[in-house]
Amino acid sequence: MMNSMSVPSKRSTLERKLDKLILTLFGGLFFMCLIGAIGSGVFINRKYYYLGLFEDVEQQFNPSNRFVVSILTMFTLITLYSTIIPISLYVSIEMIKFIQCAQFINKDLRMYHAETNTPALARTSNLNEELGQVEYIFSDKTGTLTRNLMEFFKCSIGGVSYGVGITEIERGQAQREGRALNEIQKSDTVVYEKGFNFDDDRIMRGAWRNERDPEIFKEFFRCLALCHTVLPEGDESPEKIVYQAASPDEAALVTAAKHFGFFFYRRTPTTVQLRESHVEKMGNIQDVSYEILNVLEFNSTRKRQSVVCRYPNGRLVLYCKGADNVIYERLAGTNQDIKRLTREHLEQFGSSGLRTLCLAYRDLTIDTYENWNEKFVQAKSSLRDREKKLDEVAEMIEKDLILIGSTAIEDKLQEGVPDCIDTLSRAGIKIWVLTGDKMETAINIAYACNLINNDMKQLIITSETDAIREAEEKGDPVEISRVIRDSVSHDLKRCLEEAQQDLHIFGQKLALVIDGKCLMYALDPSFRVDLLKLSLNCSSVVCCRVSPLQKAQVTSLVKKGARRITLSIGDGANDVSMIQAAHVGVGISGLEGMQAVMASDFAIAQFRFLKDLLLVHGRWSYIRLCKVITYFFYKNLTFTLTQFWFTFHTGFSGQRFYDDWFQSLYNVIFTALPVIILGLFDKDVSASLAKKYPQLYKEGIRNTYFKWAVVGVWAFFAFYQSLIFYYFTTTASENGHNSSGKIFGLWDVSTMAFTCVVITVNLRLLMACNSITRWHHLSISGSILAWFVFIFIYSGVMTPNDRQENVYFTIYVLMSTFYFYLTLLLVPIVALFGDFLYLGLQRWFFPYNYQIVQEIHRDEVDSISRTEFLEIGNHLTPDEARSYAIAQLPREKSKHTGFAFDSPGYESFFASQAGVYVPQKAWDVARRASVRSSKRTSQR
């Protein structure tokens, strides 16, 4: 709850900028009205006797009080020019965005994940175009970049490394270095199960018995099978059992034990029962019940976990597993060889991006145990500082350990992550990884994801320095904070200097790695500017060991400090605040819980779908909305300006140039539909090209299409066109316009002008389109046709009502003259002449990138991907089938961050079992409920 924030309501940056535009328009409106109002005050005069301005004339036209005339005219003009404010714009935008979400994003087959049967989901329709302008992505690691699928991958037992698999990272490294890896074909008998991706003929299927020291293997397997807090669920057979674990690492370890022949099948409050194979001799299977005497739970300071158990034969053993440095500190002084070899293996595993744990055991005598147990019970029942006391007591028995070996678990990357990250970074998007993991893991994953490579200079700000550790040992909180503060300040300055130098002199790319503790101080207002400056200079940033709140703080830092568009992507409850803090929050829907999705704006099943979401949907939405907005702006400005020019010729009286109905229906019918079609269907480059040329996305980041300059160009042409409309239609109006010498009146001229406006504005839209579907044709010709149908009916009918029959028959009068047709040909072409020339010159001499791409691929027919899509989901490759099958398994109900023992709910999970009250955490509730129910089944 501490990390939760109030849910913000998000509006897109584009819309905020639109507000500014609207405000400007209001300013323009006011300015126009002011001119008109002043003019009317100056104009009004009794000399125009035909206006009947007698003594008793109404205030609005009373020349005796010109000020009142001005004020009243102002109000008249406001209603007259109100068309400059595109009210229907908001409605149109909402409509377009809604369809974009509901029809395009939600139904995109490219973002449909067949394995989890999850399509993309837009949870808000506010932020489509924001997706086209994202510059910073903040990504959670686990479950987002990685699968949260821990697979037992390698192990080191008694100083010998086992396991033949090759990790993605090793493969990537080999590729970078140009080495060929000889992949060992896995044997046919290899087992595939969630959490287990291990094969080595030396230990599988009981072969370990033939190794040099079988006893240590037994200890290794028993440690895996006994030292954990996993609950078995379901049928007690190896095939059907389901392990409920606080972290997937635990489940992976227990699963591994199962495959090694130490099948953990039942837990009672005091015992753990194993079905052990090959112990006495090959093929022998026996059920053994171990009594669990104490559980020394995991927490982040201890970084280890132990159980004390009693064998059926009375042997008392303490099994311990934990982080390498913690275990190594507590080893007995013997067996240096194993220690050295194991450490080598640990380093190897670590550099391959694997997560390691050390396993150790200690034989206890009954006396030692009884003595210790007394203290343990005391500590457990103490009321004050229980946690601390328990830690102290645990410390007393977790010593003189004997190292068994280590495990290495692969944190599998999500499919397509490195490629996606590569594409996104070429699109000018900077990706920051915010993770709860320890620094080494985080850096490893960053390497694996192409976020950091060897060409980059790594700037590391860490709290794991000697000075800080020393201060921490002294335990004075004031002193600790001072030391860290100083070191952070120093590091920041140093890094900033280095960054300036490297970036500007050597042009080297930089990567910043910072841990949560330092971040806490770096986020302090006094360092914040430095941190921001430094991190904005870095191509990638990795924040490790950060709390959910810090994730949100980092996001807000960039959002508010750099004023760039940010996107957060995460899958779990700990990402919620970050998702809410960013401009756009994306939740990974699929294996994890729903919290992230519920807080997000968009939910996708896979990280790699970001590519489609941003480069295709976001980019299109952005471009479309920019066009819609600028076009709306243009069409209303043009229309209103013709009215404005007319005002000058009417004695500033506020006479309408157009009939009321023309004015009302202009936005609603005659120009409404085409712009919506544009907002839905305009496509500058196809989806595949948008992904092939990710650099096109930069135009969105720079907001190329909705700058004031762009608006200015539109405004200029609106101005030009309105002058053309007004003067071309009125200039010749004093002459006769047909062979019988008859003269047009006001309403004839205005109908002609309006016809020209409707045609021109609709044709201008066509010129703005990059792709023209038949919907464009239909809507544009439909709109123009609608005008003619309307005017034919409207001016053809006399109503019995008391309305002014101003436009009666005007269109027929107009159509009886050649002049009308000549004007109809002349005016739109002259009006669009400027735009056409501008577009032609712009494309010719200053082409946008997308225009070049269009030209490169101008002869290619858009490949219709229908067939490609039809294949999805119907035929699964064996690999897909496997991952699908895994996805179909009951879902992991745990939240995991980082290193195997780091799960935030771990303590309380343990505590609930021990019946100890621990303050509730949000992400715990659901899990605890499920644990309780499973406990009942297991005790049955």
């Binding site: 399509p119 047909n738 858009d862």
Partner: protein
């Protein structure tokens, strides 16, 4: 979302094969945004082609329009200054408003070119805001059309009723200010008859002004705005009124007065006797008499022709200029080196 969650966890038993409640979106060209579309690219070739095309179309039209306009012979004579006595504005206004002064004014016009009948006679007013908001709405169309609504004078302020309260027909400022100068033409001793029938649009005569609506109480007020109407002629035949009430778009406007159905030869001298009643002196408006023939395009109107010619010429010029540029320094279509990230590879 709930669906997917439910189906993933519930379907644990049956492995890949057929999935019944799949959330897989259905393929349609609309949702996948793959509607067939044509993608016009405004290549230099297109630009040149379009400009040439516009030029090809516009220049002949321009020539035709200009020729038509040139064929029209127009005589414009401003008479407001010569037909008044007095030097200051006040004197002029006093003169024109005095019912006893003689308003007759004789002018002579010389025909510059042969004019074939029909020759249209117009009067042209200047600085007369027929499009003023107060003026435009000061009428009642129902009253003009329908004899039953003769008393309906709503909207006609301030010319609704006579001082004694009887409704005016036609009411309103427009009708009240009806133009009342008259012209009579003669060549030598021979009078030229001015036919005033058919100078208004037929739709106005037939539908907007009733043939059983007669003027009543018109110009009976204390102040006379303009012409009076013959109360025995229905409105649909009062074409001067009909023409006047089709309010003009701009403050400078022409209205048809009648037509002379007789050819005029070059250098003939026309004597015009003007009854200069209408007061434009208050607001310093000009009055002009216009005699004009007409073409298929209407009266003298150089503007349209010139506009067509200018645009057509400009298009030809641009087409040529672009062609030269295109030939001298062509831009290769779709040259990847134009892509911004290829132009400066440092990636900014």
């Amino acid at each position: 979302m709930n669906n997917s969650a439910a189906s993933t966890s519930s379907g644990s038993g049956d492995v890949p094969a057929p999935r019944r409640n799949s959330n897989r979106p259905k393929y349609s060209r609309f949702t996948q945004q793959e509607l067939p579309a044509c993608k016009p690219i405004l290549t230099p070739r297109w630009v040149i082609t379009v400009f040439t095309l516009i030029g090809v179309i516009f220049v002949p039209i321009g020539v035709a329009a200009l020729m038509a306009s040139n064929k029209v012979v127009e005589i414009v004579y401003r008479y407001d200054a010569v037909c008044i006595h007095g030097n200051t504005k006040d004197e002029k206004v006093a003169y024109i408003q005095n019912a006893n002064t003689s308003k007759t004014c004789i002018i002579t016009l010389t025909v510059p070119k042969d004019m074939d009948q029909p020759i249209y006679v117009y009067y042209q007013l200047d600085n007369f805001y027929q499009n003023h908001r107060r003026y435009v709405k000061s009428r009642n169309d129902a009253q003009l059309k329908d004899s039953d609504k003769a008393n309906d004078t709503s909207g006609c302020d301030p010319e609704k009723t006579t001082p004694d309260g009887s409704p005016i027909l036609p009411c309103g400022l427009i009708a009240w200010s009806l133009f009342n100068d008259t012209y009579s033409f003669s060549i030598g001793n021979q009078n030229l008859t001015v036919n005033k029938v058919g100078i208004s649009w037929k739709s106005d005569r037939d539908h907007k002004f009733g043939d059983n609506v007669f003027p009543r109480n018109f110009q009976n007020g204390t102040m006379k705005g303009g012409a009076s109407l013959n109360e025995s002629i229905p409105l649909s035949q009062q074409e001067d009124l009909i023409v006047w009430m089709r309010t003009a778009a701009l403050p400078t406007f022409r209205k048809p007065y009648g037509k002379i159905e007789q050819n005029l030869r070059v250098n003939e001298t026309i004597t015009v006797i003007i009854q200069n009643y209408y007061n434009t002196y208050s607001f310093s408006g000009k009055k002009k008499l216009v005699l004009s023939t007409s073409s298929w395009l209407g009266g003298k109107n150089d503007f349209t022709g010139i506009a067509y010619l200018t645009i057509g010429g400009l298009c030809f010029f641009l087409a040529t200029a672009f062609t030269v540029v295109y030939l001298v320094k062509p831009r290769k279509l779709g040259d990847p080196s134009y892509l911004s990230w290829n132009r400066n590879p440092s990636g900014h």
